[in-house]
Structures are given as structure tokens and as C-alpha cells.
């Protein structure tokens, strides 16, 4: 049956390749329409990627995006759309930074405390949407979007110097105060800079994600719910419990998305902390088809676009070209995946028919008796 596996792999690759090609062509069309060279920006971006410091930036960014995308993917696997990853990530990073700055503990304990707080806050924030959905039937799409806005206001209020924040002297920014060095995650020194240590934790989490989904009962229930909620219910899955658990996990992972930056770079939460990571995570989860490996490459690609486009300004191109391309990728991905999925199903149905007609069925007891 290797044949069907190979088929599936090829079809699996066909989706993203098709989407990327379409997005690339459309971006070139946009460039042409605005009287620009359609190829030059891409060449400049590849040039930028040859510098080791840019490479380090890309890797570090990939780690953050990877976590955000995993958070989204957990929801996607059971047809839950957690648009609130961004709010969960920001609120979690902010509260974790506050707690981290407020205490002093031996190294590993300090880091563990910050990480656990981040996961709990993220899970709590997503859990609100989960509870609303299970008890009142509120769509998680709507509630998580609203919770994003509430998180923004809540953070702005918490970080006021009159509450928990600080205003560094001679700055307009507000921060949560600095986390002492015991709460810094060790980094890997390479040529071109430091790779945040938490980036490796992020990638390790990809393995955990794969294991939980594919090797545990819980993961099977979750995937079954995503594949057919009616069949899952008939099979004995408690739909409400599943929704709530998935939202909590998604939120906890979203809470982790801020950790590479917080533990490896800024050591404080301020208004300069990156925003929109959760939304980019949606793009990446879509492009990576919710698979831990696919998400890795998707995160790498988007980080590449992000970090190498920064220099485009100096060459007379707008760096928003990368943003346009990201947007086009999302549209192309949605369309091409559906096309490939339907084609794959039809093709397999036909092939199975052909195989059976050609007498390649597995031997059954009835036949053996003949």
C-alpha cells in the first residue's frame, strides 16, 4: 500500500507548492501593475538572507511563529478557530513578565515559573471563549476576536505606572520592569548573533504536538471531532469537554509564543513587544496544513519574508511587498488546498475502483475458502 502513501505525500506537497507559486506570480503582477521590476525584490530578499545575522533573526522569528501557529493548529484540528491567539499571547507575556520581574528565584525555577504563568494566563483567556461556547453556544470566532480587544485594553490598564507598570526614566514607553538575570533563558551563541534557547523548546513542542495528536486517545478524539463532529459524538466523545480542553490547550500554547522574545531578548513587556504574532500564526497554520513539519517550513518562510523585506526600503521598494505576498499566500492556500483535497478524494475513489476491478483486493476469508 506504499502507493497510496506516496500519493498522499505528493498531493500533500502539491497544495502548498501550488499556493506559493500562485502567490509569487500574483505578487509579481502587483509589482508590474505599480511599474516595478517584478523579480528584483525577490532577488534582494534572497541576497539579504545570505547574511548570517539575518539568518539568526529568521530562526528566532521562526520559533515565535512556530508556537503561535501550533496554538492555532490545535484548534483547527477540531474545527475550532481561535483567532484570539494574539490576545492570549500578549496578555500571557505581559502577566508573565510582571510576575517574573517581581520575584527572584534560582535560575531554572524562575524560568519555569514565568513559563507556567504564561501558559496559565493564555489558557485562562482562551478558556473564557471555551466556556462561552460550551455553555451559551457563542461562536469562538466572535468571542476570541472580542477578547483580543479586551486584552489590549486590559494590558494598557495593567501597565500604567499607577498600577503595575513602570516608566523608564527618559522614555515614553511603559514596561513591566526587568526580569532579573536568573529568569533569562540561556541562548546559543553562533556567528551572526544569539539563537534564543526557547526556540529549541518551541521545536520540541512540535514533536509533543505530533505525539499527542497521533498517539494518544485524547488526540484521536480531537481529530475525530474535527473530521466529523457527528461521528465523534456517536463514538463517545464528549463534545463540550473537547471544545473546552482544546481551547485551554490552544491558549496555553499561545501563552508560550511570547516566551522566546521575553526570556531571550527583551526581559520585559513593553509597548514595543511584537503584536500580530497570533494572526501570522493563522497564516502559518493554514499553510503548514496543521502538521508539525509543515508548520515549521511555513514559519520559516514567513519569517524569511518578514526579516529579509526589512531592507527593501533602502533599494527603493516598499517592504510591504512581503505583507502583500503573505496575504496572497493565505488566499491561494485556502483555494488550492480545497482543490487538491477534492481532487485527491475523487482520485482515490477511482483508483480503489480500478484496483478492485483488477483483482488487487486484500484476500478475504471468503475468497480463501474458494
Amino acid at each position: 500500500m506504499r502507493k497510496f502513501d506516496k500519493d498522499r505525500l505528493l498531493l500533500g506537497l502539491a497544495g502548498p507548492v501550488l499556493a506559493l507559486a500562485v502567490a509569487f506570480v500574483l505578487t509579481s503582477v502587483v509589482l508590474l501593475a505599480s511599474d516595478r521590476d517584478p523579480i528584483e525584490p525577490f532577488r534582494l530578499m534572497f541576497d539579504a538572507a545570505s547574511f548570517s545575522d539575518v539568518q539568526v533573526l529568521i530562526i528566532n522569528q521562526t520559533g515565535t511563529y512556530y508556537l503561535a501557529a501550533l496554538a492555532v493548529a490545535v484548534g483547527f484540528r477540531m474545527n475550532l478557530f481561535n483567532i484570539g491567539v494574539d490576545g492570549q499571547y500578549r496578555l500571557a507575556a505581559m502577566v508573565a513578565a510582571l510576575i517574573g520581574a517581581a520575584v527572584e528565584l534560582p535560575g531554572p525555577l524562575h524560568i519555569a515559573l514565568i513559563v507556567i504563568v504564561a501558559m496559565l494566563v493564555g489558557a485562562f483567556w482562551a478558556g473564557i471563549a471555551g466556556i462561552l461556547k460550551t455553555t451559551r453556544g457563542v461562536s469562538e470566532v466572535v468571542s476570541t476576536i472580542m477578547l483580543n480587544a479586551i486584552a489590549t485594553s486590559l494590558i494598557a490598564w495593567l501597565i500604567l505606572p499607577s498600577n503595575f507598570g513602570e516608566q523608564p526614566p527618559g522614555s515614553n514607553d511603559l514596561t513591566t520592569g526587568d526580569i532579573p538575570e536568573s529568569g533569562w533563558f540561556p541562548a546559543l551563541e553562533v556567528t551572526g548573533g544569539e539563537i534564543y534557547g526557547f526556540t529549541f523548546v518551541a521545536f520540541a513542542l512540535g514533536f509533543v504536538y505530533w505525539f499527542v495528536l497521533n498517539r494518544t486517545r485524547f488526540g484521536f478524539d480531537l481529530r475525530a471531532t474535527g473530521a466529523s463532529s457527528t461521528a465523534a459524538q456517536a463514538s463517545g466523545v464528549d463534545a463540550k469537554k473537547m471544545v473546552l480542553t482544546a481551547m485551554l490547550i490552544s491558549g496555553a500554547v499561545a501563552g508560550l509564543a511570547g516566551m522566546p522574545t521575553l526570556l531571550g531578548d527583551t526581559h520585559t513587556y513593553s509597548f514595543n513587544f511584537p503584536v500580530g504574532v497570533g494572526f501570522t500564526g493563522i497564516t502559518i497554520a493554514l499553510l503548514g496544513r496543521n502538521s508539525p513539519v509543515g508548520i515549521f517550513f511555513a514559519a520559516l518562510l514567513v519569517s524569511f519574508l518578514d526579516k529579509t523585506s526589512a531592507d527593501l526600503d533602502q533599494h527603493g521598494y516598499e517592504k510591504e511587498i512581503a505583507t502583500i505576498m503573505q496575504g496572497l499566500i493565505v488566499i491561494a492556500v485556502v483555494v488550492s488546498y480545497e482543490l487538491v483535497r477534492q481532487y485527491g478524494l475523487r482520485r482515490q475513489q477511482r483508483k480503489v475502483g480500478e484496483e478492485l476491478a483488477a483483482g488487487h483486493a486484500l484476500k478475504t476469508a471468503k475468497e480463501a475458502a474458494k
Binding site: M1, F4, D5, N214, R215, T216, R217, F218, G219, F220, D221, R223, A224, A227, S228, T230, A231, Q233, A234, S235, G236, V237, D238, L345, Q348, Q349, K351, V352, G353, E355, L356, H360, A361, L362, K363, T364, A365, K366, E367, A368
Partner: protein, 513 residues
């Protein structure tokens, strides 16, 4: 069909009623044959063509936008006829008065009860100028008072010279409202009947065909150890029903939970009590939509009963979770395998895990065991003759019969104490059918209790040790499968006979319960 008449079309499930209506309404094209409307040969490419010819259809499932008013729903898509303002409102009022529909154009559809919605659907069709109305099982969702009101409306329509095509398998209703009856079976017309001189029983005979099944002789394996005991199970539909204004105040019937000022909820299950012993197959006959689905879902724990108790092998499971019930030994062959039995886009071996994820060989201590699950899938494929090139293909790529064999194999592999089998051979070819029956019989010999629900009366009679008839959420009759004929069963299914069905019997006697 003649102008100014109500013409009923009756037949079993799958007899071809819906297909015929789809052709008449332009949703499907016939291979051969002609349709003549008002003396002119017509052919329809779309429902639009049918509407132009004055044919309108009221679907079984209403197609209304809840958050719009009646007026908005009616004009939607036909804005050109009378605009969307006062002219349209006038027209709606006029139609409503003319046919006694009693519709307020500015009411919000979501505030209307089922019967009102149905009248809005009828008005929608009339508004578009239909002279021929097709009603697809219009009474399936109504309580008796609503049915009476609907029939009054139909008589109005008839009096105005409109033609109504009425599809139903509730024979009593058909006889009371129809002027002419056409019976179809296996895609062809098998006869017509004059409602004035036909009894429900004769009609049922026409419907199911006269040929008698040959219930095979076999030794009884029924023991006196009860496996499943159901006591007084009731379930009310959670919806609002407004008794239409046109209907006369009536005494509450036992079909509804009716209290003054409280919304009326149709009883989906009404005081169901059954006992199935080890080694017994209990068959439940009934026209679809009389509570069988709800009974199964309540037994599986997918719905919560309002009252009653369920005991499996001496353990009370009335409020147990679906998973717990499955682990305790209930096997489930669902009536809609695509919705409830399979993950269509997942490989066969994952489908083998579905429903039994907590049981060996699928998992150990919370972890899946894909290797063992795959090995066991191969065994099921072999033993249950599932035709597939491999176990990595998706369930969707198998034919319906092979999907069903996989499900039967999966459920039987866990040696259930009780098997709930809903239409176990639906859409399955003859060979596989016999095989599935054999497997059920074999397991019965080893002490399996089976609840069998089927629309195939021969299957019910041939397999069951005990037969019950379900009608409007109640078990109204029982019969001995050794002596009963499909015709007798058929007439009980339409509510025409109740109590213990004797053979030979006089269905009229059964009325006095």
C-alpha cells in the same frame, strides 16, 4: 392528476416518490418519458422552469430565513412580481385570505411555529403563481391539530381549482384527504386506489407488495436473562408549537404535553418500555420519523430522556456517557453511517478505532497502538469480506456495502452485550446483506441481545424473535414474527392497528385498546 383534486402519492422508503417529485420540479432529468401540463408537453431544466409552468414545491425541510419577516421571505427571489413593498404586502394578505391561511406578513419567521412556517411555504409557492402544489411529507413535523388545520387549507386550495400532489406514508391521513391515490413501489406505479372504497390495510398491501416472506425456521436462542431493560422512556421535542388560529379548540391528546399557556412539544418518545433478553433480537417496525432515531440516540446516550430508566445487564445507564455505554458493551450500527459511523476522509484503520478508542487492541494506557489497530483492521477486512485494496485508503473510497461491512466487523469485534442495529443492510447488496444477517444470528446464538430497527419488513420479520411497532413515539403494537405478514405489519405501522397483532386478524378489532 386532475385539476381541483388532491392527489396522494404513497410508497415505502426508497420506492421512488422523491425522485419522481424531483423530476416534476425540474431538479432532476428523466431518462425517458414525458410530462404534460395542461395539454402541453414540457421539459424542465431547473425548478425555475417548473415554477414558470405553475408547479410549486413545499419541501419537507422548510427553506425560510429565520431572521426575516414573512413578507421578506415571500418576496425573496421574486422581487419582480409585486415589488418588495406595499403591493407585495397587499398580495400576500389577499392570498392569505383567499385560501384561509391566516398569515401576518410582518411577523418574524423565527417567532412562528412549525405549522405557521409551513403555511408561509405554501403561500410562497402560491405567490409565485403555482397552480400545482407538491407537498413532500407535510405532516411529518406536525401534531394532530396542525394536521387537521393543514387539511382544511388543502381543501380550500382544491376548491379554488388548484391541484395538490401530496406525498406521505401515513395511510390514514392519505385516505382522509386525498381524492385519488397512486401507489408506487420500486420505482414504478403498482396501482391506484379510490380513497372512498379502500382501507388502510389494502393500501398497505399495495405499498409493500403482496408477496409473503419466508421467515426461516430456526431454533430459538432467547434466554430469560434480561440484557436491556427500558422503563417508561419519554422525550419531548424542545420546540415551540403554536396551535393554529384556524383550528377549533380541541381536547389535549396524549400525543402532546399540553398545559394551558405552556408551549406544546411533540412527544418524540412516549413511555417506551422494552426488555431484550440475552440471545433475543427485538425488531421495531415503524414508518421513519416515528421516534426510532430518537430511541436509538437516547439508548446511546446522545440524547437525555425526560423520564424513564435504562438498565444494561443490571447496571443503570440512564445518564451514562456514550463512551461509558460503549465500553459497557453496546455495539452500534448507526442508521446514517456517513454521519455517525465513519470518518470518511480518514484511513480504514483509523475508522476501526472510532468508537472503541479506549478498548484493546486500539489503545493501551491512554496511548494509541496503531500497529495492533492496523493488524486488527486487516483481520476485519479478511473476516468480514470488506473489498478494499488496503487499509490506508480513506473510508470514502469504499462502496456503501463495504463501508457497512467494516462497521459491522468493528462493532462485532468488541463482543457487545447489546447490539443496536439501525437499518443494518440499507444500501447493501444482496450478498453482503445475507452475510450481515448471518453474523447477527451467530452472535445472537452466543447470547447477544439485539435491538433491530429497519424499514425492510422482510428483514424485520426474518431476523426478529419479538416484534414491536412504533407509531408517533409510542410502541403501539406487538407481533409474533413467526406468523405475521408484512401487510399486517404495514397497517400497524400506519397506526391502523394496535395491540397484539394476531394472525389471522381483523385490524378493526385492534382499534379498541
Amino acid at each position: 392528476m386532475h385539476r381541483g383534486t388532491v392527489h396522494a402519492l404513497v410508497g415505502e422508503n426508497g420506492a421512488g416518490k422523491s425522485t419522481l417529485m424531483k423530476i416534476l420540479y425540474g431538479m432532476q432529468k428523466p431518462d425517458e418519458g414525458t410530462i404534460t401540463v395542461d395539454g402541453a408537453r414540457v421539459s424542465f431544466n431547473s425548478p425555475g422552469d417548473a415554477i414558470d409552468r405553475g408547479i410549486g414545491m413545499v419541501h419537507q425541510h422548510f427553506m425560510l430565513a429565520d431572521n426575516l419577516t414573512v413578507l421578506e421571505n415571500v418576496v425573496l427571489g421574486s422581487e419582480k412580481l409585486h415589488g418588495i413593498g406595499s403591493a407585495a404586502r397587499r398580495k400576500i394578505r389577499q392570498i392569505s385570505q383567499q385560501y384561509g391561511l391566516g398569515i401576518r406578513p410582518d411577523a418574524l419567521v423565527e417567532e412562528l411555529g412549525v405549522a405557521d412556517r409551513q403555511r408561509v411555504e405554501i403561500l410562497k409557492v402560491l405567490y409565485r403563481g403555482a397552480r400545482i402544489l407538491i407537498l413532500d411529507e407535510p405532516t411529518a413535523v406536525l401534531v394532530p391539530q396542525e394536521v387537521d388545520a393543514l387539511f382544511a387549507n388543502l381543501r380550500e386550495l382544491k376548491a379554488e381549482g388548484l391541484t395538490v400532489i401530496f406525498i406521505s406514508h401515513k395511510l390514514g391521513e392519505v385516505l382522509s384527504v386525498a381524492d385519488e391515490i397512486t401507489v408506487i413501489r420500486r420505482g414504478t406505479t403498482v396501482g391506484t386506489a379510490d380513497p372512498a372504497s379502500t382501507t388502510p390495510r389494502q393500501l398497505a398491501e399495495l405499498m409493500v407488495g403482496a408477496e409473503l416472506p419466508t421467515p426461516e425456521t430456526r431454533e430459538s436462542t432467547v434466554t430469560d436473562v434480561p440484557m436491556l431493560q427500558v422503563q417508561g422512556l419519554s422525550l419531548a421535542e424542545s420546540r415551540q408549537v403554536t396551535v393554529p388560529e384556524t383550528s377549533e379548540p380541541q381536547l389535549p391528546t396524549s400525543d402532546t404535553l399540553e398545559e394551558p399557556g405552556v408551549p406544546v412539544g411533540r412527544m418524540l418518545l412516549d413511555g417506551i418500555s422494552i426488555t431484550i433478553h440475552k440471545g433475543e433480537i427485538l425488531g421495531i417496525a415503524g414508518v421513519e420519523g416515528n421516534g426510532q432515531t430518537e430511541l436509538i440516540e437516547t439508548l446511546m446516550g446522545m440524547r437525555n430522556p425526560d423520564t424513564g430508566a435504562i438498565t444494561l445487564d443490571g447496571v443503570d445507564i440512564t445518564h451514562a456517557h456514550t463512551r461509558k455505554r460503549r465500553e459497557d458493551g453496546i455495539g452500534y450500527i448507526p442508521e446514517d453511517r456517513h454521519r455517525h459511523g465513519l470518518l470518511l476522509e480518514s484511513p480504514l484503520w483509523e475508522n476501526r478505532i472510532l468508537g472503541h478508542v479506549t478498548e484493546p487492541p486500539n489503545s493501551r494506557r491512554g496511548l494509541l497502538d496503531p500497529k495492533a489497530a492496523r493488524r486488527d483492521t486487516l483481520r476485519i477486512v479478511r473476516e468480514y469480506d470488506v473489498r478494499t485494496p488496503g487499509i490506508d485508503v480513506t473510508a470514502a473510497s469504499l462502496s456503501g456495502g463495504n463501508q457497512q461491512k467494516l462497521i459491522v466487523g468493528r462493532e462485532m469485534s468488541h463482543h457487545p452485550k447489546l447490539l443496536i442495529a439501525a437499518h443494518p443492510t440499507r444500501g447493501v447488496d444482496v450478498g453482503a446483506q445475507a452475510q450481515i444477517w448471518d453474523q447477527i444470528r451467530e452472535a445472537r446464538r452466543e447470547g447477544l441481545a439485539v435491538l433491530l430497527i429497519s424499514a425492510d419488513l422482510d428483514e424485520l420479520i426474518g431476523l426478529s424473535d419479538t416484534l414491536r411497532v412504533m407509531y408517533r413515539g409510542r410502541l403501539v403494537a406487538d407481533a409474533d414474527p413467526a406468523t405475521i405478514t408484512p401487510e399486517e405489519l404495514g397497517s400497524a405501522m400506519t397506526g391502523a392497528a394496535t395491540g397484539h397483532l394476531e394472525h389471522p386478524q381483523h385490524p378493526e378489532d385492534g382499534e379498541a385498546r
